[in-house]
């Protein structure tokens, strides 16, 4: 976008913001969904009385832990970003 011949938007920065927002915004929703899916496989919070095999439980817990770590990692990056605000 131009105003009186001077660019007022740095589109490369905007593209980076869009990518970061897609990863942190939409990405975190998907990863968190997989965390919940892992907990479902592991039978956590299951009120239906359905039986879960040991393999399913282990896979579920592993998926939940990995996704949980990814979610925490993204939050840590977010807090780091707050502390690195340019002046």
């Amino acid at each position: 976008m131009l105003l009186f011949g001077d660019p007022i938007i740095d589109w490369s920065d905007i593209l980076k913001i869009v990518i970061a927002a897609l990863i942190g915004g939409a990405g975190i929703v998907v990863i968190y969904g997989f965390l919940l899916l892992g907990l479902k496989f592991a039978g956590v919070g299951d009120t239906t009385g359905e039986t879960h095999s040991e393999g399913s439980k282990m896979t579920g817990y592993a998926l939940a832990v990995i996704c949980g770590l990814v979610v925490l990692g993204v939050i840590a990056i977010g807090i780091y970003a707050i502390t690195q605000k340019p002046s």
Partner: protein, 395 residues
């Protein structure tokens, strides 16, 4: 002595602005969590208030931008500089209270920037203001951020409902309610570091003008940090229920997966933009996120409410600027550095604030009106299946 008296008036007014900033912007972090019943309203605002307090101490870069980047600090250092700062605060406070009274989420950040611009133009002239900087750093990112956040929230909502189908309604909705607590906490922290610092910047500008701080060796005194953090968190805990209702219930009907997607998108856009040097209005970003979450589920969005918000956003900078310019002109009648002039404009502000508060009480909304924690995930699903319009919880 006169300068010290006016400085005290400016600091007290800045703290009052910070308080209005707190209760005006509480909705940004907690509206969707309250709307979906993830948190009790009182618990939500206390959590948000505490995180706003912590966030205020994380960095001072935004304070430096406000103190040095919007108007030339030499203007504040000139004779009558304190009146400029005071008039700017008054413009922002009156605009914040007006939009709060009308239940419209608007940007406190843009209000204070508009106030500074209006007061500086009235006092010194347009050369004191960096209009290109305002367009580059404030206006253009503000417009783009709403669309980016809306698109990301729409995509996130779509993805969340794909997961809901795999997980089953009850488990997904319960899980996303817990997720909302975390995302609301992150947005609260980001809000504290952004908005409390804006008031720190204003007080720092006043301290620069009286020679207590050098513009060349900028820092924010610890007492300023404590006062600003305390005021914004107290304002947050007070809870701007009217705006929480608009943001959480009147734009679109929000469910927990949508709330989580909207908050995650908002938090990401705010943090990514801040990292790349674009200080954004958290209000506008979150409003875009909530609207995008409605679009992502292909459910009706109350466009009339959204239109009111957009109108308020467009009007914020000029309106706060005009009020600030008017305040400066009134103070100037009594001469530069006049204690009487400052007291007169503060007294007028108190009268206007009291009038707006009285008007708002006719349609008062409280925490109890917004509490949805007794709504089970099943009831939430039924409500979502049955709702074909974005029905206000409290009109």
């Amino acid at each position: 002595m006169g300068d010290t008296f006016i400085l005290v008036v400016v600091v007290v007014t800045a703290v009052a602005f910070d308080f209005t900033n707190g209760f005006h912007d509480t909705a940004n972090a907690v509206a969707t969590s309250i709307a979906t019943g993830a948190l009790k309203p009182i618990v939500a605002v206390i959590m948000s208030g505490c995180l706003n307090f912590l966030g205020a101490f994380i960095s001072i870069s935004v304070a430096a931008t406000i103190a040095k980047g919007v108007v030339d600090p030499s203007v504040a250092s000139s004779s009558g500089g304190l009146e400029i700062v005071l008039a700017a605060l008054i413009g922002a406070i009156i605009w914040n209270l007006t939009t709060w009274c009308l239940s419209i989420p608007s940007s406190s950040s843009h209000a204070i920037i508009g106030g500074l611009v209006g007061a500086a133009v009235a006092a010194v002239g347009s050369h004191a203001v960096s209009f290109h900087g305002i367009l580059e750093k404030v206006v253009a990112p503000a417009v783009l951020a709403v669309f980016i956040c809306g698109a990301v929230a729409a995509l996130g909502t779509f993805a969340a409902y794909v997961m809901v189908r795999r997980l089953g309604d009850r488990q997904a909705r319960t899980g996303y309610r817990y997720g909302q607590i975390g995302s609301a906490a992150l947005v609260s922290l980001a809000h504290g570091t952004n908005d409390a610092q804006k008031t720190m910047g204003i007080i720092a500008l006043a301290l620069i003008s009286t020679g207590h701080i050098s513009a060349a060796h900028f820092y924010v005194p610890l007492w300023v940090k404590f006062v600003c953090a305390g005021a914004i968190s107290l304002g947050t805990v007070t809870g701007g229920w009217r705006i929480i209702n608009t943001m959480g219930n009147r734009i679109t009907s929000i469910e927990s997966p949508q709330g989580f997607a909207a908050e995650a998108a908002s938090g990401s856009v705010i943090l990514a933009s801040s990292y790349y040097g674009y200080p954004l209005s958290t209000t506008q970003v979150v409003s875009g996120g909530v609207t995008g979450a409605g679009i992502g589920k292909k459910q009706p969005v109350h466009w009339a409410v959204f239109g009111q918000m957009v109108s308020a956003w467009i009007l914020t900078i000029p309106s706060a600027g005009i009020v600030a310019a008017g305040a400066w002109e009134i103070a100037d009648i009594f001469g530069k550095n006049s204690k009487v002039g400052c007291l007169v404009i503060v007294a007028i502000t108190i009268v206007i604030a009291a009038a707006l508060w009285t008007i708002a009480q006719r349609t008062a909304i409280g925490a109890k009106d917004l509490d949805r924690t007794n709504v089970t995930p099943e009831q939430e699903a039924e409500r979502a299946a049955g709702s074909d319009t974005a029905t206000p919880a409290v009109a």
